[in-house]
């Protein structure tokens, strides 16, 4: 019964989204306030309906109702509660429903909180958002209905793919989706502005908080996915340039560019045409990602669906939205007036440089991801494009960008002085050189690139701090005044510095973990020792153990440094009984920011086992840096909320800007 209600709610939502697609748009174009007024309440109603539908599916999972095909295929009564819930989106149908849920959630946010946005822009934006919503609900109803029943209900379900039974994967998709789909609202804003022919600095101010919000979640989601792959897949790698990873990385790169160009548009009324194009591109890349991941074009853990009908359906949606918006852009963009002029050496110039490199990097990732597919379709030739391609293209594009990062915020708007900016950065440069020399002293000339990489990372980190310090003039006004000024700085300045600092932290982690990693692969018998990076590991033997829905063979290892025991590590090989599927569970010991990583291979008859041990110096900085970036984004949103009242409940506005910091 509940399941049927969920299905029904989704059908209702479809009907409502069709109404929402048309009436507010007509109202916005004709300046008819009655028609426009329906948009906000309908956007909330849409959210409620889709949320009900999602809740119904969740209820079916919680009660292990195996008469629902989707539940039967992806759940099991013996599964822990959390994985019953995450199982809802651990499959094709459910994940598309989550996609739509987030789509309407963002619509409802704009409908509910976007009271400072002009009525016509808000109505048109919500209408465009509903076009996307209607398309995707139709996709669910027509090809991927999660509410289908089986005539004779089986007694037990098939269980969720064991590698998806992990806390990281329970949160990774929702985070990623909020980011991915969050860019839809930026897209809707852009299309609405093009239709209404109204695009000015104020538009950028309304759009930027939404872009930031999506970006924050996407950053966190990608980091989470990367950490999951790192510890769950048992290969110790944290980024594989897998097409599915790239699918989420491309919107991130474009979204990062968008964030920066929107600043120029907001502050200086320049780069309008480009910013709108980026807004369209960013969401188009999200759609492309959805297509790649959901259509079965790529075979990977994410490709649940291999039904060609679905692939074609998404492809049609993709062409409609991307083609339609670009056509609209080609038609309307020439009418936009260009705003403020600026010299090449200026804050704007730096931000343009940022955009150039980020978009070039996006193109590189795009080519690397799609070229094999295109080649396969055209010539039938099978190739793979892996890490070497991306290291050679993406890497060189990032280096100049990273070198330039600290310059941006210290340059003045309109016309900057590179010499003055450099003088402010002397200290940062000095520290970076010291870090470089220190690494060289520590590791020698073995790997020349690594000390340079460390220097670059430190340069970005210290550069970010210099920006805050110069704004405060800490060394000129003294500590107590300086501290007061520090508190008075706007959140967006803090946000920039924190996020840039995070970039440096991530780069540092990447450089040290890849250049100075130590790895040993060997076969160990009980009692054997292996030494690695100052740690001594003893293999004590393998003991079987039983979990809630799996059996496992646990390897027992003792870690010593200088003879004293520091840790017992227990990597294991699991067999999930429902699917008879084995997985590898790595054991990880974190010491400061570095990690000792241990995973088991095949066991031998004599009790010996294949072992892979890594020492990864500062590896956790990769993800910590991402979290710092996301935090910087949040700080920046908090500031915007106070200054322009973007997404906030009007009644609960904080009176003084200091209170939030």
């Amino acid at each position: 019964m509940i399941v049927e209600l969920g299905h029904y709610a989704l059908v209702l939502a479809f009907a409502l989204s069709l109404i929402q697609s048309v009436l507010p748009m007509v109202g916005a174009v004709r300046e008819d306030s009655r028609l426009m007024a329906i948009a906000p309440p309908v956007s909330v109603a849409l959210f409620v309906l889709v949320a009900l539908s999602f809740a119904a599916l969740t209820a079916a999972y919680l009660s292990s109702d195996f008469s629902v095909v989707n539940v039967w295929e992806n759940s099991h009564s013996a599964k822990p509660l959390i994985y019953k819930i995450s199982g809802v989106w651990g499959n094709h149908e459910g994940s598309v429903l989550l996609w739509v849920l987030i789509l309407v959630f963002f619509g409802a946010l704009v409908g509910f909180f976007g009271t400072n946005i002009p009525a016509s822009l808000r109505a048109a934006t919500l209408a465009v958002q509903s076009w996307v919503t209607a398309g995707f609900i139709l996709f669910i109803l027509a090809t991927s209905n999660p509410f289908n029943r089986i005539a004779e209900a089986p007694l037990e379900g098939n269980g969720l793919n064991p590698i998806l039974q992990d806390i990281g994967l329970a949160i990774h998709p929702p985070l990623l989706y909020v980011g991915y789909v969050g860019f839809s609202i930026t897209f809707s804003f852009a299309v609405a502005a093009l239709i209404l022919g109204r695009l000015d600095a104020a538009w950028a101010r309304w759009v930027r908080p939404w872009t930031l919000l999506a970006w924050v979640f996407l950053t966190a989601g990608i980091a989470m996915g990367s950490y999951w792959a790192y510890y769950e897949l048992g290969w110790g790698g944290w980024w594989f340039w897998d097409p599915v990873e790239n699918a989420s990385f491309m919107p991130w790169l474009a979204g990062t560019a968008l964030l920066h160009s929107a600043i120029v548009m907001e502050k200086r009324d320049a780069l309008k045409v480009w910013t709108v194009l980026l807004a369209i591109f960013t969401f188009s890349l999200s759609l492309l990602g959805t297509f790649l991941v959901r259509s079965g074009v790529l075979t990977s853990v994410h490709a649940f669906a291999t039904d060609p009908e679905r692939g074609v359906f998404i492809l049609v949606l993709l062409c409609l939205f991307i083609g339609g918006s670009l056509t609209l852009y080609a038609w309307r963009a020439p009418m936009l007036k260009q705003g403020g002029l600026f010299a090449p050496i200026s804050r704007e110039g730096a931000l343009v440089l940022n955009n150039l490199f980020l978009t070039a990097a996006t193109v590189a990732v795009f080519v690397g991801t799609l070229y094999p597919l295109a080649l396969d379709v055209i010539t039938g030739e099978k190739i793979s494009v892996g890490a070497p391609f991306f290291n050679l293209t993406f890497g060189p594009l990032m280096i100049p960008l990273l070198i330039a990062v600290p310059f941006g915020p210290v340059l003045a708007w309109k016309r900057g002085d590179l010499l003055a900016a450099s003088q402010r950065l002397y200290a940062a440069f000095g520290i970076a050189i010291l870090a470089c020399l220190f690494t060289l002293w520590l590791w020698g000339f073995e790997r020349v690139m690594a000390p340079l990489g460390v220097g670059l990372a430190v340069w970005v980190m210290t550069g970010a701090m210099v920006e805050i310090l110069t704004r405060v003039k800490l060394f000129e006004v003294g500590l107590s005044r300086g501290f007061a000024r520090l508190k008075g700085l706007p959140g967006s300045a803090w946000g920039t510095s924190i996020a840039h600092f995070g970039v440096g932290v991530t780069v540092l982690g990447i450089v040290t973990a890849s250049a100075f990693q130590e790895e040993r692969i060997l076969t160990m018998k009980p009692g054997d020792n292996v030494e690695l990076s100052g740690y001594e590991l003893t293999f004590d033997g393998v003991v079987p153990r039983k979990g809630p829905n799996y059996r496992e063979d646990v390897g027992h290892f003792t870690v010593r440094t200088g003879g004293t025991i520091v840790e017992k590590m227990e990597p294991s090989k699991r067999l999930y009984t429902a699917r008879q599927m084995p997985t590898t569970e790595a054991a990880i010991m974190t010491s400061w920011f570095s990690q000792l990583y241990l995973s088991l291979g095949e066991g031998r008859d004599n009790g010996a086992v294949d072992v892979r041990v890594y020492f990864k110096p500062l590896v956790t900085l990769i993800w910590i840096g991402c979290m710092i970036m996301a935090f910087g984004g949040l700080v920046s949103i908090a500031d915007r909320r106070l200054r322009v009242g973007a997404p906030k409940p009007a009644r609960r506005a904080t009176p003084s800007p200091q209170a939030a910091e």
């Binding site: 590698i163 075979t299 070039a360 190739i383 494009v385 692969i521 599927m581 590898t584 031998r604 294949d610």
Partner: protein, 135 residues
């Protein structure tokens, strides 16, 4: 400004073209390897089925096995931990180079994420040999 933009784009395009020429890896089946003369040292991806009864494990996590498309087969050596779903008779994709003796030295054996999943290239290669069992 436009000059800089042009320069960045030119460099990006140059990098991409260079990398596409140099860094891509072709997929080959054991029959491809038997028929074409693939120079030793060139990186390729080799895919097929793990031939029954050929997996031999030795010390220091070394393992050797044969990859077959039922017509031809190629000997493969690998040092490292095999993916969880590596099985005799199952599909596999390995990446590496052919050495002077004609043995394929893999540095990467691709994991499968799911027991139902056969790498698409392998499925197609097997279909070409007419031994594909699936749908």
């Amino acid at each position: 400004m436009i000059g800089i933009a042009g320069a960045v784009l030119a460099v990006a395009v140059g990098l991409i073209l260079f990398a596409l020429n140099d860094q891509i890896v072709f997929f080959q089946s054991p029959t491809d390897i038997a028929e074409k003369a693939i120079p030793p040292g060139q990186r390729i991806r080799l895919g097929g089925l793990v031939e029954e009864g050929t997996v031999v494990r030795s010390d220091d996590a070394n393992v050797s096995f044969k990859v077959t498309d039922t017509v031809n087969s190629v000997s493969v050596t690998y040092k490292g931990i095999l993916p969880d779903l590596f099985r005799e008779g199952q599909g596999v994709v390995t990446e590496g180079v052919i050495d002077a003796r004609g043995v394929f030295v893999a540095d990467n054996v691709l994991a499968k994420h799911d027991e139902n999943y056969v790498p698409k290239e392998v499925a197609e290669a097997l279909k070409q040999q007419g031994v594909w069992q699936g749908e």
